[in-house]
Subunit: 139 residues, 4 copies
């Protein structure tokens, strides 16, 4: 897997753990979501005003669990856009131990450009396409 230009740190919360003593599986999507929104904001694709203006909706999510995550383990989530389609894009994630960089989980989501106020999908906005192509060196 190629490397990531963007990482977001995550603090494991006690409230993320389940009775098996490790981070519950559903939280992996929460960690990926947090990294995704941070990435979108960092690249200037969303200005942080109304969440109804974010402009993308999840169509698919996938997680591969490699190693369980413990309380107190420092994490960072690598996130990148790996594919730009006409109406959708694919984001890839890697949840890593921030200490030694080893991958604890990988994942991917497909996002569809979406007008929340009108409730319908859209072509991916031109500025998203331009900024992401440049940032991720996509062709």
């Amino acid at each position: 897997m190629p490397s990531f230009r963007y990482y977001h740190p995550i603090e494991v919360r006690y409230g993320d753990l389940d009775p098996q003593g490790h981070v519950n599986n559903a939280r992996y999507l929460t960690y990926m979501e947090q990294a995704r929104i941070s990435y979108i904001q960092q690249l200037g694709l969303w200005q942080g005003d109304s969440f109804l203006d974010v402009g993308v909706i999840l169509a698919d999510a996938q997680v591969t669990f490699k190693e369980s995550i413990q309380y107190g383990q420092p994490l960072r989530v690598g996130v990148r856009v790996s594919r730009l389609g006409v109406k959708s894009l694919t984001m890839e994630y890697q949840i890593e131990d921030a200490g030694d960089g080893r991958a604890l989980a990988t994942g991917a989501t497909v996002l569809v450009a979406y007008d929340y106020r009108r409730g319908r999908s859209l072509p991916l906005p031109d500025d998203w396409r331009r900024i992401l192509t440049e940032y991720e060196m996509l062709s």
Copy 2:
């Protein structure tokens, strides 16, 4: 997609919603997990004592989001085992509107037989294999 023999009802909680007013994506894994544990318990594969005795660990999870889920929408989650391997099995899910049965999301998880106390994977127990083969009419 073939039908399900087992369904688990879910009440959408206000606490499941996010600022876009619908159920947050990570909760879909929570809904699937709730249905999965109910199924495992119902089939007598786990007696409900220690969660360290459940005997399976998630290796992979996938969700396809078809339609957003609203507060007050009655849900049921279909769950079944679709594949039994030597050390793993695949479970499939469908989150449905309990009123009209339409699919709001589908998903799948791969589970690996696991000894939590020793921290290692195992062959799938014989009783799991026997009970699941019969219940799901797997060959």
Copy 3:
């Protein structure tokens, strides 16, 4: 404590549990919230359209934990309005084992009438006052 006219059932989710194997303390507020919204909707105080029209905001919450809550334990949450002020009201809660009715936790919240769109507090609406006084036989 006087009895409740309104109860809302809750299913404990695996995702509500923490490493100590019982329901995490923060979920008690989630259970109380779920019962509160159900009560508000049931009494016709909110029509279930935009959550920006709910018209109350939390000012204070309190929980007394009497007994830990286990996975699989059937629950119901009693909820009632115990006090109507000029701009606020107090709701009381009891989380009970739905089997034998014993109290597992009690709680209270103070809610302030609030206009979310304008961002300011309001006198409690007349219809809330009238409906709640009658339903709870408040004087």
Copy 4:
């Protein structure tokens, strides 16, 4: 309110928000819990091994909501022990904007010394009493 010697930073997650666009009320207990465990660990009262060895159980929790918390708002949670009893102690919290230090919420919890393995309350351990008395300058 006197000041705090110990603060724990919190990142607001998108997953903490509810349809009203701010942090959901139940998360305030999660933030306080995260600060509490960090404090307990920092003072050497718990070595981070099994969560069954933490030795305290929640008896009561209270939150006063002063101002809503937004996505992107940097937070820190002040935590301190304000009272040591024979079998219990009181912890106080303040959730603050880490930028300007203004209080967004205050709270308190009562914790009872508890033996999780035997399921019964205990006198507060001597080392807890000694360490906390010194750290918080309690008399």
